[in-house]
């Protein structure tokens, strides 16, 4: 494989929680501009792997490279500054802040105004603030939450909160998005919208790593799939191959070998 079209390399990452081997030397790569999904039964280690990529947990072994830069061992905010933004399975929004402020928080790593700029409301900081708002407004519009921009996030419906989280991740113009179960809690209609949006995000040239339980969503939009079971990678390939893979069918549907 040529290195040019590979945006992320995950090399043999391991994670133990006490005696539990949550992620067992998982290795795979993510090509630039694709939707790659990570699937597997509950407890397969998907979220743990996500946390390790995003810097929330440190792997016991192994490394993660983003654009050939080692990101293992970096803090989450440093990973975010590299352009790898994540969303959370159980929404983590600032409920007491407005939609606009939440989304502008996502833009944070693109700005540079510091404490003194803020306190003295320096011209540079005001200009930056205005640019930030101009940047995020189209995102709010695209996700149909522009009318809610001054509402407190805590008062929104779950579907709208999910949209705010996605908008927040997009606000920093990330080159890679890590989506942790973005369809959880959404109804069929909302899930269909989400699928279109994720494909649109990919078409903008961004790479997406997706953890998701909704199989029809995964099979519809993924370019590639990695299957985890008990922390180990058991299959990798395009959706049609994964659907035919005997091992995958066995762990999902059960079988005599189990």
């Amino acid at each position: 494989m040529s290195n040019a079209d590979i945006i992320m390399r995950i090399e043999g990452i391991d994670k133990y929680f006490g005696g539990l081997h949550a992620v067992d030397s998982v290795t795979f790569t993510v090509k630039k501009g694709v939707i790659k999904s990570v699937i597997g039964p509950n407890g397969a280690g998907k979220t743990t792997m996500f946390n390790m990529i995003a810097g929330f947990e440190t792997p016991c072994n192994g490394q993660v490279f983003f654009n050939d830069i080692l990101i293992t061992g970096k803090k989450p905010w440093q990973v975010a500054e590299q352009g790898v933004l994540r969303t959370f399975q159980n929404l983590k929004l600032s409920n007491h802040m407005s939609v606009m402020d939440n989304v502008l928080l996502g833009w944070h790593s693109l700005g540079s105004a510091g404490f003194l700029d803020g306190m003295f409301s320096s011209p540079a900081s005001r200009r930056e603030e205005k640019n930030a708002k101009d940047t995020v407004l189209p995102i709010l519009e695209w996700l149909n939450i522009i009318d809610l921009k001054d509402s407190e996030v805590g008062n929104l419906s779950f579907g709208n909160q999910r949209a705010v989280e996605l908008a927040r991740a997009l606000a920093s113009d990330p080159s890679m998005l890590l989506l942790d179960e973005p369809a959880a809690g959404l109804n069929m209609h909302e899930t269909a919208d989400l699928a279109k949006r994720i494909e649109k995000i990919r078409d903008q040239g961004r790479t997406i790593l997706l953890v998701e339980h909704d199989m029809s969503l995964v099979m519809d939009i993924s370019d590639e799939i990695v299957v985890l079971n008990f922390g180990q990678k058991i299959a990798e390939g395009i959706p049609s191959d994964i659907q035919k893979n005997k091992e995958v069918i066995r762990i999902y549907l059960g079988g005599d070998g189990a």
Binding site: L93, S94, L105, S109, G111, F115, G118, S125, E128, D150
Partner: protein
């Protein structure tokens, strides 16, 4: 700009109160109003740390004492013996030494309060930084305990050290001549000017903080309150932000301590007590946590009543009870943003009827 309207209202209120005390012949009340202003400054700093950034601190009285004792110590110690050294000659040429005659005809040389102001800010800032880095890794009541421990340490140090006057504190702290003709002192004749010095200081602090809240950094700080994971994932260096706002809160407390010590002409160990820290906490809690104006109003009212002796023997108990009641029944504070918004929209409705065509955005309802 719209966000500065409350600042104008504050300024007008301050002037009105002064005029009112003058008309009613209650000018003596300005003394307590001035002292309240300095306590408000501490509360505003704590409001930033606790209300906005969500980091509880029970050590603010310690930082207040650092500011007060630093200046009390540096401006009352006699440097006559060292007057010949190069450093002191340099300070003298810069006008930063004050030579005075004592009652017994000796001359004493003191440092100018300008030096002690810088020292107070630096010592408080460095202490807060050194304390903040390990302590701000803690959360919730663990953080409260750790900062309270710091407060107790400061209290025991000033109570136990001879150079800080032990239980007596340090008195005879000289007036601070800000510039010729404007003196920071508790002198009867400069009561009005000192009232304005204090409140202008508060206004400056509020302006800076209101700006900060509405900036990129302010947004990041506010997001910490909800949970650090999200801020971290969005590229906010949470540790750094928490430590810096903690330092800012500490510096505000130290500056307040500096000014009040010169105003009172001295400082005693009671200013460093944990009871005082609880008092600041109660004020911010009752003011609505993330509400700088609530802290200001409640800080002014409660401190004024307390200093006037309205609570009598129950002074500390009143603040304790307020804190307990707030936590039990109104954890979001008495003056809540949502309540303020309701009041504002009520006013808009009332005024709009009287042909006032102001268009203030109301948040859309779901």
């Amino acid at each position: 700009m719209k966000r500065f309207y409350p600042v104008y209202i504050l300024f007008i209120t301050i002037v009105l109160i002064q005029v009112l005390t003058l008309i009613t012949g209650k000018g003596y009340m300005l003394t307590q109003l001035t002292m309240s202003a300095y306590y408000v400054l501490v509360a505003v700093g704590l409001c930033m740390v606790m209300g906005y950034a969500g980091q509880i601190s029970l050590g603010q009285a310690g930082f207040f004492a650092i500011g007060g004792y630093t200046t009390a110590f540096l401006t009352t110690i006699d440097f006559t013996e060292k007057a010949g050294t190069g450093l002191f000659k340099l300070l003298d040429s810069m006008g930063l030494l004050i030579t005075k005659d004592t009652l017994y005809g000796d001359t004493v040389i003191h440092l100018s309060p300008w030096i002690s102001l810088i020292a107070a800010v630096l010592i408080a800032g460095i202490t807060a930084y050194a304390l903040g880095i390990p302590v701000l890794k803690l959360k919730g009541h663990y953080l409260a305990m750790a900062t309270m421990g710091f407060g107790i340490i400061i209290y025991r140090i000033v109570l136990g050290s001879a150079i800080f006057g032990q239980a007596d504190g340090i008195f005879n702290v000289p007036a601070f001549t800000i510039f010729p003709g404007l003196e920071l002192s508790g002198d009867f004749t400069s009561r009005i000017s000192n009232y304005y010095i204090a409140w202008i200081l508060v206004i400056i602090a509020i302006l800076l903080m209101v700006n900060l809240i509405n900036s990129r950094v302010g947004r990041a700080l506010r997001s910490l309150h909800g949970g650090e994971d999200a801020s971290d994932a969005m590229g906010v260096d949470t540790t750094r932000y928490k430590v810096i706002i903690f330092v800012i809160g500490a510096i505000m407390a130290a500056v307040a301590g500096f000014f009040l010590t010169h105003y009172n002409g001295g400082i005693g160990p009671s200013e460093a007590g944990v009871g005082k820290s609880v008092r600041y906490l109660a004020i911010v809690a009752v003011g609505g946590m993330a509400n700088i104006w609530g802290s200001l109003v409640m800080g002014l009212v409660l401190n004024f009543l307390s200093l006037r002796g309205v609570f009598g023997h129950f002074d500390d108990a009143v603040f304790g009870i307020i804190l307990v009641m707030m936590m039990m029944f109104m954890p979001e504070g008495f003056i809540r943003i949502s309540v303020l918004r309701d009041i504002r929209s009520l006013f808009i409705k009332l005024f709009s009827r009287k042909k006032m065509k102001e268009t203030i955005q109301e948040p859309p309802h779901e």
